[in-house]
Each structure stands twice: as C-alpha cells, then as structure tokens.
C-alpha cells in the first residue's frame, strides 16, 4: 500500500487530468468512484490499476478493502479525494481502471445497440445500462457520441461497461460488417414512414440504431439499414427521450 498526502504529487496531477477526454485517451485509463462501481470492477475482473481510498475508508469499508489487491491500494487524504473527484460529495473509495474498448466478438453476438451521435452523457450511460439489463451483447458508439469514459457516462452506466462489450466505430463501416455476419439492422425514425418496432423479427440476430437527441439517426445511416422502425404513440407528445425509446425497443426484442 502506498500513501500520498500532497496535492502537488505528480500522480495526483495525472489523475486530476483524467477529467478530460484527451488525457483519458493518452493515459488509456479512467476514474470510477464509489463503493458500488469499485465492487463491480472487482467482481467482473476489470483491469484495475489502482484502488484509491481515504484513511477513514480503511475502517468504514473493511469488507471491500479486503477484496482489493493490497499492492494496488493508494491511500490519499480527503483533500486529494475531493480534488480528483467529479462529485459534489466525493466518495471514500475510487479506482483507476484501464480503458477496455475493443472490437466486439461478432460471432457470438445476437443483440447489438448502435448509437449514432447521441450527445448527452446521461443518455449514453443509461442506454448502455439498459442494453446490459435487456441482455444485449454489445454497444457500438458511432461518431459524435459522448465518450464512454466521461464521468457522467460512467456514473449512469452503473458498472455495465464491465458486463457487456463496447466498441467505438465508424457506423457505416460497422453496418456493412454486421450485415455480412447476418445481423438484421433496424434504424429508428421519429415519423410514421417506418414500420412499428413491434414488427421486429426476434428470431434473427439484430442491431438497433438510435440517434441524436434532436435530429435522430442520420439520413445516411437510415439508408443503409435493413428496416427502419418507429414507436407508435397514443398521446400528444411529439417524441420520446432517446434513452426511453431505446429501452422500450430493447425490452421488446
């Protein structure tokens, strides 16, 4: 176990920089905060580089600390925890985890979620969590989609990044590849030119594409799908939040 007490320590400065995507990319790692996420990382053998704990957590979180590889523990002051945290009330336990985005294994995947330029981090995180809950195998993040290791995405995912495969890709290229693997692709549209999502053929491998909060799925992507679906609405709301739409469709297939 290592103890760091100075805010000016070089490691502290590096960790603080992980708030920015540029530095997460350069350092190939990101921060997770709180007991639940650290538990999940351990339970699912995530590539944890270091566990960060405050001195008081050594007594308040004994059972969690006992699960940690002691050589990876870094004890920090409350001030350091506050400094590196993205939360209004910092947690006493955090961890640095290696980024784990890799090409998904297509052979075994039967349910995929594809995101086209979904910009809100809360939406992206919630959609990954929902894909996980629905038993989807993988999520593919297209251009313009919020960075999966953004702190808000990480909080909304609630650890689902440790359960399912996630890949960043050029959607049009990926769509071609998926079609060659016999995955039927469904774009989502806001209008009724499309077919109802209830007509999706559940017997096939399938990929569902959700799009930008304002514009929806791009025209170019919609033109390259097998089918485009919409959610029939009985009420007077003009549209659904994209994460809600994703949840309704994913839980229907």
């Amino acid at each position: 176990m290592k103890i760091i007490e100075s805010l000016k320590n070089d490691w502290v400065k590096q960790i603080k920089k992980l708030e920015q995507k540029k530095h997460r990319d350069q350092q190939n790692r990101y921060l997770i905060e709180g007991e639940h996420l650290v538990e999940e990382a351990i339970a699912f053998n995530a590539p944890v580089e270091s566990f960060i704990i405050t001195e008081s957590a050594l007594t308040t979180h004994i059972s969690l600390v006992e699960k940690m590889d002691v050589e990876k523990i870094i004890q920090v002051t409350d001030d350091i925890m506050k400094h590196i945290s993205g939360l209004p009330s910092p947690q006493p336990v955090a961890a640095i985890v290696e980024k784990n985005i890799a090409e998904i294994k297509l052979a075994s995947a039967t349910r995929l979620l594809l995101l086209d330029n979904v910009q809100d981090p809360g939406n992206v995180g919630t959609m990954i969590r929902t894909a996980d809950a629905a038993g989807f195998d993988a999520v593919i993040l297209g251009e313009g989609t919020a960075d999966i290791y953004n702190s808000k995405v990480v909080r909304s995912m609630q650890g689902s990044q440790f359960h399912i495969q996630i890949e960043e890709a050029d959607l049009l290229k990926k769509i071609d590849e998926l079609k060659q693997s016999s995955v039927t692709l469904y774009g989502t549209e806001l209008n009724e030119e499309a077919i109802s999502y209830q007509e999706i053929n559940k017997d096939h491998k399938l990929g569902i594409i959700l799009g930008n909060e304002g514009q929806g799925v791009s025209r170019e992507v919609l033109e390259n799908t097998d089918y485009n679906v919409y959610i029939p609405m009985k009420g007077q709301a003009e549209s659904l939040n994209v994460a809600i739409a994703a949840g309704i469709i994913m839980f229907s297939v």
Copy 2:
C-alpha cells in the same frame, strides 16, 4: 405590448424569484422557455399570463409572435432575459404560465402513472413526457417527488403538462380513492418476488406506481397495491433507471 428595460423593475424581480418553489407556489405561476414550449402552450390553450420576448425576436420569430395575444406581450432586453432564464444560453422567447394542478377526473381515466418520492427532476419530467406519449390520462405526484414546475422538470416534460392531467396528492389516500373507482393498482419492485409486468391485465383501468431512485416504491405503498410487478432482466445490470422502467411498462399496457 409593454416594454421593460430595467433589471431593477419590480416585475423582473418577481419573475426571477420563480426559480424557487416557494415563490412559484406563492405566485401560482411558472416560467417556460423557448419556442417549442411557448408554441405548445398556445396550441393547447394553456393559461398564459404573459409572453416574454426580446426585441430581436419580434423579427426572428414573427409567426410565433403573431399567435400571441398582443396585450400579453412584454418585450425585455437581452440582459433581462438572461437574468430570469435558467438556461446557459437564454432563448429569445419565454412565457409565464399559471400553475394548473387540479384533481384529476377519475371517471374518464383508464391509465394513470403514480410517482412515489421520485427525486430527480429529469426523471420526473421524462416520465410525464413518456406517460403522455403512451396515451396515459394522468400523472399523480406523491410526497417527496420533484416539483413539476422546477425548471428542469419543465424542460424534460417538453410541454406534456399541457396535454395530460397532473395532480399532487397523498399517495395512500389516492390509492384508496382509485380502488373505489375500479382502478387496479400495480406497484413496481426491484426483486423477483413480484409478478412480471407482462402479466398486467390490460383490459382493466390501471395505475402504475414507480418509486424513488434508490429505495424504489415505499413498503407502505407496496402493501396497499393490488399487485406488484417487476421487469425480468436477462443481463447482469442490477436495476434499470426509474424512467426507463416506467417507459417499458407504460408502453406494454
């Protein structure tokens, strides 16, 4: 049309106070911002007290301005709009609308959503918007639930408060009343002691109860429902976001 140019004007001070629930309650009105919400308010005959526009909006938003009752228009400076707005980039058009929470008409309601201590404004707003889209008749907000006229709730609702009935009530009392009106009540649980939401009987009038983000629906409420349901999950996520769960259930009935 009235023109107000001073930040120190009394009306400006009163409107600024609407950021706080206490003052929204006292003044019995709230602020809506942006073209879309103002359009919706006009289209659905919401009780608009004043339309607030910047000078430039008089030319950039002619067709919307033409729909406004000219006696209700208050033209303000960009500085005033920025001062009263809750948005990082204030919109050129806003309105003050009377609060419109009233007891729902039970006789005609066949689908109701009840919220028990749902605290996140984004979740509450999204759930009301989703209830609207799903063709629900009413939403009942129980104790501890975010104020419907909170600016974040208003933004997430996207105008659905103009389409469906909304009431604030003591949930236990309301549940009794609903049962007397032959509404079958379904609580939602996180565990598998409940029945699957797919077993909900769609032929009856029904009320779906969703609960707090962390604790779910309170024990006391769950004990007073007709049935409690859960959403079977195929993946490894432990739970769903409450607004996603609400969307899946509401679109299944």
